[in-house]
């Protein structure tokens, strides 16, 4: 394990029946770094986030956060340690207002700091703060999902396909937001299909296929790697 790694995952495996979703995945993310996680559909990216955040228990492997093993902790305990996440399909607390969504997250966070106003402004949600979450557009719900993770004062933020469905202007804004979050010292693991978006934010990527890492390094080098090309183009 690198001495700078905030998150260190080693030999992570997860099966669903006969289907092996993760097959010995290992990766590390340092504080203030944005690591991209890419791969074709079904390669295990979202499963990796689900296992690291605690939605699923790993069948094998270790997850260390700040040097401490967290693989046996339930999801809410990991969240209170500072492992927070967004979801591929956001499900905000629909009957609560935007502000109430953030208040709930803040009340159960590790710090209990009230950063709600700052998060509303950062994610451009201040104009809809009093509205029920159910009434938001899909782009606003994605921003609310991120705001809810941010208000918990994460140390590690797991971001699952937050660019999907956003228009170019929204993507640019989201990229700037993620860079600002990383600039504050938060480690980010970003699952994304939009390689242009990922190029704008991630200094390094891990490419996955069939639950395994097949490449680790800068995205531009990944695009020239024969194995990565083979996986993406199916040759």
């Amino acid at each position: 394990m690198s001495p700078n790694a905030l998150l260190s995952v080693s030999g992570l495996s997860k099966r669903f029946g006969a289907y092996r979703a993760l097959d010995g995945l290992s990766l590390e993310v340092a504080a203030g770094e944005i690591l991209g996680l890419v791969g074709p559909n079904g390669s295990g990216k979202t499963t990796a986030i689900n296992v690291i955040s605690g939605v699923y228990a790993a069948d094998a492997g270790t997850i260390r956060f700040d040097g401490r093993p967290v693989g046996g902790l339930p999801i809410h305990r990991r969240a209170r340690l500072g492992i927070n996440r967004t979801f591929q399909v956001p499900k905000p607390f629909r009957s609560l207002t935007v502000t109430e969504n953030l208040e709930v997250a803040s009340a159960h966070s590790r710090s209990g700091d009230n950063q709600i106003r700052e998060c509303l402004e950062l994610l451009a949600l201040d104009s809809v703060a009093g509205r029920e979450a159910a009434s938001l557009t899909s782009a606003q719900q994605k921003r609310l999902d991120l705001a809810r993770a941010l208000v918990a004062r994460p140390r590690l933020l797991l971001v699952d396909e937050i660019g999907a469905g956003l228009n170019p202007a929204e993507l640019q804004l989201m990229a700037q937001t993620l860079l600002a979050i990383a600039g504050s010292g938060v480690a980010l693991l970003v699952v994304e299909h939009l390689l242009g978006f990922l190029r704008a934010v991630a200094s390094r990527v891990v490419v996955m296929d069939a639950g395994r890492e097949i490449f680790e390094g800068p995205l531009d080098l990944a695009a020239r790697d024969p194995q990565v090309i083979d996986v993406f183009l199916g040759r």
């Binding site: 339930p74 999801i75 499900k91 009957s95 709930v104 159910a134 993770a149």
Partner: protein, 291 residues
């Protein structure tokens, strides 16, 4: 006659709201239908009857005992059963079967403990003078039952909409995974919701001798069916929608009892089928399904 029927319907509506609100709370938080709901209400009824028969206690004294005992029972039942159910491949179907089994066990044990005879608590335990409401005279037991139901429903409202636990509960209702990922202890919130649901059923049971006619061990299944009709009418998964469902059911029941008494027993089934055909998301609509 009509104004009496409508007022009586509102009194019974409040009571049926209390009967069903716990079932809806549990469904909203855990997405499972507690088929033993009516059996827990029956146990609350026997608790009140037992205290009255043994010590002559007014049923109102059974309320705190019912709340404490059934809250603890609900929390214990949750931790004993639900986390294992949720780890299974089909938790909803498994919970359906398991809770049906719990219902049968409770009923069988109640028959062993109390026998098959119908029991009653005299309505005069609250006094013999009727209460005048808007010029109409009602048994005091009905008014007390409706008043306690109203207080209990207000407590549920405060719990859900004006407490930190309530906000967490509504977050869990929206999405268990997202709630957990924001640091909410979903199991603790759910256990408290199940305990609260059972306690509400037991409090409703305390008054069942006055509102449902008699107490007997096999009354649970009918009450579960009625409760299910009430929550589907209001809105499945939305505890406050239960109040609307309860009032519609109560007024409907009183109208049927007054003008078509031989058809009254069909009411829950007819309302259930009608609402599922005409407005399957309930009268309060999609706020719940999507909540």
């Amino acid at each position: 006659m009509l104004s009496y029927t409508l007022l009586a319907g509102l009194l019974f509506g409040l009571y049926f709201s209390l009967v069903a609100v716990g079932l809806n709370l549990v469904f909203g938080v855990m997405r499972l239908i507690n088929l033993a709901h009516g059996d827990f209400l029956m146990l609350g009824a026997f608790l009140a009857y037992g205290l009255y028969a043994a010590a002559g206690l007014n049923p109102l004294y059974a309320i705190p005992a019912a709340i404490v005992a059934f809250m603890l029972a609900g929390v214990a039942l949750y931790y004993a059963v639900v986390p294992r159910l949720q780890a299974s491949r089909d938790p909803q179907m498994l919970s359906f079967i398991l809770l049906f089994g719990v219902s049968q066990i409770i009923e069988a044990l109640a028959v062993i403990a109390f026998g098959n005879n119908q029991r009653a608590i005299p309505a005069t335990v609250f006094g013999s003078r009727p209460v005048l409401l808007l010029g109409q005279s009602f048994p005091v037991a009905w008014v007390v039952s409706a008043a306690v139901s109203a207080v209990a429903l207000v407590v549920v409202y405060v719990y859900l909409y004006h407490s930190r636990l309530g906000y967490a509960t509504r977050a869990v209702m929206a999405s268990r995974d997202e709630a957990a990922s924001t640091g909410i202890n979903v199991h603790r919130v759910s256990a408290i919701a199940l305990g609260t649901g059972l306690a509400l059923a037991a409090v409703a049971g305390v008054f069942s001798a006055f509102m449902l006619g008699s107490i007997e061990p096999d009354m649970g299944i009918g009450i579960t069916t009625t409760s299910f009709a009430v929550i589907v009418i209001g809105s499945l998964g939305n505890p406050l929608g239960t109040v609307l469902g309860g009032l519609v059911y109560g007024v409907g029941l009183m109208v049927m009892e007054t003008f078509y008494p031989s058809w009254a027993d069909l009411l829950p089934y007819v309302l259930l089928i009608l609402i599922l055909l005409v407005r399957p998301s309930g009268l309060l609509g999609q706020r719940v399904r999507l909540a």
